[in-house]
């Protein structure tokens, strides 16, 4: 248990205004350094699961523990702080803030979290150096860094988002269908990069996708439809 990055127990969660629970499961664990593939078609409670892990939502019953810390007892503002301190998120698309530079986008978590900032500083001489080295290892050449976010290709944008998720070495990286907007060659390349970086950073990776072709590259595969007793019911989230 002490080694678990994510531990969900006996969860039942109902969105406000809904009559039936969207997510009900007995157990969902991710170990430290583990890379898990979570598959779930829409309606399987995927968004709800991510909201619980991120501490955006609290289950009506059951417990959510991240890195040994019980989230359900924490007030919302502490959960917000905890989320940015320990979890990096990558979304399907439109990950970046259009009016911030690429560098500022990458450094966003360091603005909201002193913990992430310190850990990023431990990686390089200063924040910019830390961001630069991440961008470089994610195959983003320096000549791209000064460009406007909107001038990047989708693949490049997703790699910037990955750099943002990884900066300051959060213990957990959650990727929500990050490759679905990419063509299949790019998907493989992106996956290579992110898996490699998570390994380097010692982060657990929760990779949510409906694309089973990617599944075999992970340590473990979890089908949300199998563990969520409410799967298939119309999902609100």
């Amino acid at each position: 248990m002490s080694n678990a990055a994510i531990a969900l127990r006996d969860i039942s969660f109902t969105w406000p205004g809904q009559k039936t629970p969207t997510l009900a499961l007995d157990q969902f664990d991710v170990q430290a350094h583990e890379q898990v593939f979570v598959s779930g078609p829409s309606g399987s409670g995927k968004s709800t699961l991510l909201a619980l892990i991120g501490g955006i939502a609290s289950p009506q019953s059951g417990s959510v523990a991240i890195l040994g810390q019980a989230l359900d007892g924490l007030p919302a503002s502490k959960r917000d702080r905890f989320r940015v301190d320990h979890i990096g998120f990558i979304f399907q698309q439109f990950n970046l803030i259009p009016y911030l530079s690429i560098l500022d986008n990458v450094l966003l978590p360091c603005q909201f979290s002193a913990y992430r900032r310190e850990r990023a500083l431990a990686q390089g001489q200063d924040l910019h150096a830390a961001a630069h080295s991440l961008l470089r290892s994610l195959d983003l050449a320096p000549n791209l860094w000064t460009r406007a976010v909107t001038q990047l290709s989708i693949g490049q944008q997703q790699r910037v988002a990955a750099a943002r998720a990884l900066i300051g070495r959060p213990e957990i990286v959650v990727a929500d269908e990050p490759t679905s907007a990419l063509d299949s060659d790019r998907q493989q390349a992106f996956l290579d990069l992110i898996q490699h970086e998570c390994e380097q950073a010692g982060a657990s990776l929760v990779f949510v996708s409906h694309d089973q072709r990617l599944a075999e590259r992970f340590h473990r595969r979890i089908a949300l439809n199998d563990i969520n007793r409410c799967a298939g019911v119309e999902e609100s989230a």
Binding site: L50, A57, S77, D80, F89, F91, P98, Q111, A237
Partner: protein, 420 residues
């Protein structure tokens, strides 16, 4: 916190075109609010400063407001005149320092004609006690000479030496002219911002002279007296419309007022101009408040526009707000981000409004003064105006809480995945 400020600024810069339009709308509406407030004050000041230094206005019995209307503002006509002997008696009253007899009734191309004597140029004061001054020429001396107000001169393009013809009565159509007895412009008064500017001044004897061959408001058929001959007649007026009175000692004002009211020889009344002006303003003030209400509504419309523009942009920004949430922004931060934007646009808009108004007054001030007689000086907002602006900003702040609140709700409901 400072990061949030920067974030709000960058985000606003990203949408600068839309926000710029909103800024302009706010600026225009607050400039209008302030402009109307200025005009209001100016009109009110001009109104209360149309006469000063006069302790009593005396005329035939009527309502104080009506007496003020025709004696000072040259609006309407007197139902009764007062006898010249009463005016003479008043001038000899030991408490009285000076009197200015006023006789009204004729006009020149829509401008009222006021018959008076030399005391007018010496004792009539306006504003904070300014005396009348001539910008050109001299006071009238012989019978058919006239001194015209600044606006009369400007509107009708009159200069010294021009000959003008007065008309009987106050209308502007189908009037009988005193064409046989033209007047020569010998003086033009400097602008005062009071009804004096709109007045054509002649001597009391001239008023008498042009009506010599008149009876009952019309020329007498078959009788015509040439201007050269008028001096052979007695040109002492028989009646005047009103008399302005200055006292040696202001403390005596109520005593003199009572003496006039109690005089049995002729039914007269004396009013204190300040009191009557206040009474009059209460009537006019309704329109004044309506103006303020209208400009208040303009501000509200501007605010509603701002709020709806920010609210509309929220739909497109849900993804952005969710990303901010994922990197640790609390719903409170999101709220602050939106509220800050509204407040900043509001503040900048009001400041821009003040600047716009000041520039407009620099550019248009002389025109407004010439066309409408309203003198507006470019100036920093006075304390009353600052209060008004402060309320505008407070209203704007409250209004900008709305999009903030909506964003707060959205970011709570959306979590990390907006349902768009």
């Amino acid at each position: 916190m400072s990061f949030l400020f920067r974030l709000a600024a960058r985000s606003a810069w990203n949408r600068r075109f839309t926000l710029g339009l909103m800024l302009l709308a706010i600026a225009l509406s607050s400039a209008m609010l302030l402009g109307i407030e200025r005009v209001r004050h100016e009109v009110r000041d001009g109104f209360s400063q149309s006469v000063s230094g006069t302790d009593l206005v005396v005329g035939a019995r009527t309502s104080p407001v009506q007496l003020m209307l025709y004696a000072i503002f040259r609006i309407g006509g007197a139902t009764n005149n007062m006898g010249w002997d009463s005016a003479q008696k008043l001038a000899k009253n030991p408490a009285v320092k000076w009197t200015i007899p006023l006789s009204l009734g004729d006009s020149h191309r829509g401008f009222p004609v006021l018959a008076t004597n030399g005391n007018y140029f010496e004792h009539f004061h306006y504003g904070d006690g300014q005396a009348l001054s001539l910008s050109e020429g001299r006071p009238f001396g012989s019978v058919f000479e006239t001194v015209i107000g600044a606006e009369v001169a400007q509107r009708l393009h009159y200069k010294l030496g021009d000959r003008i013809v007065l008309s009987h009565g106050m209308g502007s159509l189908h009037m009988t002219d005193h064409a046989d007895k033209p007047f020569t412009v010998v003086g033009i008064l400097a602008r005062t911002g009071t009804p004096v500017d709109r007045t054509v001044h002649i001597g009391l004897d001239a008023m008498e002279a042009i009506h010599l061959d008149w009876e009952g408001g019309a020329p007498m058929p078959g009788l015509s007296i040439a201007p050269e001959l008028v001096k052979k007649f007695d040109l002492t007026p028989k009646t005047v419309t009103a008399v302005l009175v200055g006292l040696k000692n202001r403390a005596a004002v109520f005593g003199v007022q009572r003496d006039i009211a109690d005089d049995n020889s002729e039914p007269l009344m004396a009013v204190l101009p300040g009191v009557a002006l206040d009474e009059l303003w209460q009537v006019v003030g309704v329109g004044e408040n309506a103006l303020l209400v209208v400009s208040g509504m303009v501000v509200i419309v501007g605010l509603a526009g701002l709020v709806s523009a920010i609210l509309a942009s929220l739909g497109e920004r849900r993804r952005e707000l969710a990303v901010l949430r994922s990197v640790g922004a609390r719903p409170g931060d999101i709220f602050l981000l939106l509220a800050l934007e509204g407040l900043a646009v509001m503040l900048a808009g009001v400041i821009l409004g003040v600047v716009l108004l000041t520039l407009a007054l620099f550019a248009l001030g002389p025109f407004l003064s010439a066309q409408f007689g309203v003198t507006l000086h470019p100036a920093l907002p006075a304390s009353g105006e600052l209060q008004l602006l402060l309320w505008t900003i407070i209203a704007g702040f409250v209004a900008s809480l709305l999009p903030g609140l909506r964003a707060y709700r959205l970011s709570l409901a959306d979590g990390l995945t907006p349902r768009i």
